[in-house]
């Protein structure tokens, strides 16, 4: 079977969630009609299928949709365009020469040669094992996304008395969801002095239901041998160490974890793609191309987003670039462009390199900040010259920010060797 000639497609897209769908549609609309989506689940739509709450798509469609409705808009558009996809098909390997190896129950192992590849594998929840929570490993400890799937897709209630560790958006959404399903959510405990989730979710998922958000608190003990019986929560100091004497015991049957998302880059790593230690996603240039020519990345596999609208925008750009690469190839260049530096409160930027010759008239550079800031300026420097300076009332690590670079600004200043994005007090 492995000796069969691989099927060839101009653009192969790994993942049929919001990023993969938008990339496929954009590649098709850019004139490349030989596009194939590979999806391991039994349906398209990715994580949106279990995100049944509303609040999606206001930027894209000017109306407020639920996750499945937002996904359906893209699934329907892909169907209109006749974009083929394979379900139940798991990508096992991506080679630097752009050969994709897959496995599926009905077709076994297959290989696809791609003119260009778009990585759109999304992200995964940080598991309990990544946290140093003490205690046994009883039943009743769920990642928030697993619990979300159980409630919304399987129709099962994972518990009745719930404590949530971590204030990521899925945890906040699940605090409300569990409450509406008749469970009692005692509290959401967050080790940092600020929430990792969106402010709107704190308002409509916790405040609406009187669920306390305990900032600078963490779980110090999990009781129960077969099933969770109680957890103990303590306040932490500035070094995030529990403060003795502040422990409070919460009897409960369920501990839900919402402690961060990690881009799912096993395939990228094995392909030899350079990954950022900050985002854990590929390091990309202005066309969202990774360190391997012809392999592009977008959505949560590139960096974790909080708005699917921005995933769709980013993925559309990656899809169009992949189509262009597949059709024209791109002449190799010595460097990847001007490096974008993230300093002084800016944790990272996407992209990390900008080639003014190859960029469009404008380029959205997305970033996250390192802490909660009030009344700071977001500044962009080309070498030592400040070209953008914009005041923001509030910035927080849980909310992605962006600046827009103009090609004209870079072209007017030949020989710029660095672009810097940073926060300034004035």
């Amino acid at each position: 079977m492995m000796t069969q000639t691989p099927e060839r497609h101009a653009v192969v897209i790994v993942g049929g969630g919001p990023a993969g769908l938008a990339a496929a549609i954009a590649a098709h609309e850019a004139g490349e009609h030989d596009v194939l989506i590979l999806e391991r689940d039994t349906q398209l739509g990715g994580i949106l299928n279990q995100c049944i709450h509303n609040g999606f798509g206001l930027h894209t469609f000017k109306e407020e949709l639920t996750g499945p409705e937002y996904a359906a808009r893209f699934i329907d558009r892909a169907a209109e365009l006749g974009i083929p996809y394979r379900l139940g098909t798991m990508v096992l390997d991506i080679s630097p020469e752009r050969v994709v190896t897959t496995v599926s129950a009905d077709r076994g192992i297959e290989r696809f040669e791609a003119g260009a590849i778009v990585l759109a594998m999304g992200c995964r929840e940080r598991p309990r094992g990544a946290l140093a929570t003490p205690g046994y490993r009883p039943a009743g400890v769920y990642s928030a996304g697993t619990a979300q799937r159980l409630v919304n897709i399987e129709g099962e209630l994972p518990g009745r008395e719930v404590v949530i560790l971590g204030s990521g958006d899925i945890g906040l959404i699940m605090a409300r969801r569990m409450t509406l399903e008749g469970a009692h959510v005692a509290c959401v405990s967050e080790i940092m002095p600020y929430s990792g989730g969106l402010k709107r979710n704190i308002v409509q998922c916790l405040d609406d239901y009187g669920i306390p958000l305990l900032l600078s608190h963490t779980v110090v003990d999990v009781e129960g041998r077969d099933r969770v019986e109680a957890v103990t929560i303590a306040e932490v100091d500035e070094r995030l160490q529990p403060i003795p004497g502040t422990e409070v015991r919460y009897p409960c049957d369920t501990l839900m974890l919402s402690v961060g998302l990690l881009p799912e880059n096993e395939l990228s790593r094995e392909a030899g793609i350079e990954l950022s230690p900050v985002t854990r996603g590929p390091v990309v240039d202005q066309s969202l191309q990774t360190s391997i020519p012809g392999i592009f990345a977008c959505g949560n596999v590139l960096h974790v987003h909080d708005l699917v609208d921005f995933v769709s925008q980013e993925a559309a750009a990656a899809g169009a670039q992949a189509a262009r690469f597949a059709q024209e190839g791109v002449e190799p260049t010595e460097t990847r462009g001007i490096p974008v530096k993230a300093i002084d409160g800016v944790r990272y930027t996407v992209p990390s390199y900008v080639d003014p010759q190859k960029m469009d008239d404008t380029l959205t550079v997305r970033f996250r900040v390192a802490n909660e800031y009030r009344n700071r300026y977001v500044s962009v420097y080309l070498d030592d010259e400040r070209i953008q300076h914009r005041k923001k009332r509030v910035m927080a690590p849980g909310e992605m920010e962006q600046v827009v670079l103009k090609r004209a600004d870079l072209m007017e200043r030949a020989g710029v060797s660095s672009i810097t994005v940073k926060l300034e007090e004035e």
Binding site: T66, N152, E154, L180, V203, D208
Partner: protein
């Protein structure tokens, strides 16, 4: 004239704009901090008659692909009716085929608002 201000976070979209609503004698007279018209109407409504869209999922019978189908109130309902809405959904089943927008429960909990499907099944 009693004048007061209230600080809110707009929940219309994930931007989460910080709003300042000014009330005079209990009537919202101005909203600032919003970046779109939805923020203005949210601010005024939130201090007088707060409302929410309610989402849930109900079992679906006869579907080859889904056990549950996701649903929402077709428009926002008064905040104090949220629990009445979810209680009214207890025991409600959808029957396949379900199309997005199909009415799953009409006039839920006397709100005059229908609960509609948000996924095909």
């Amino acid at each position: 004239m009693a004048k007061e201000t209230r600080e809110l976070i707009c929940i219309n979209c994930p931007m989460g704009c910080p709003l300042t609503v000014t009330l005079e004698d209990g009537v919202a007279t101005s909203v600032t901090g919003n970046t779109c018209p939805r923020g203005d109407s949210y601010g005024r409504k939130e201090v007088t008659n707060p409302t929410r869209i309610v989402t849930s999922s109900v079992p679906v019978d006869g579907s080859a692909i889904e056990r549950m189908v996701s649903v929402k109130t077709a428009s926002d309902v008064p905040k104090e009716k949220i629990f009445d809405v979810v209680k009214a959904l207890i025991g409600v089943h959808a029957t396949a085929p379900v199309e997005i927008g199909d009415v799953i429960l009409a006039d839920v909990a006397g709100t005059g608002v229908d609960v509609i499907a948000t996924k095909r099944a």
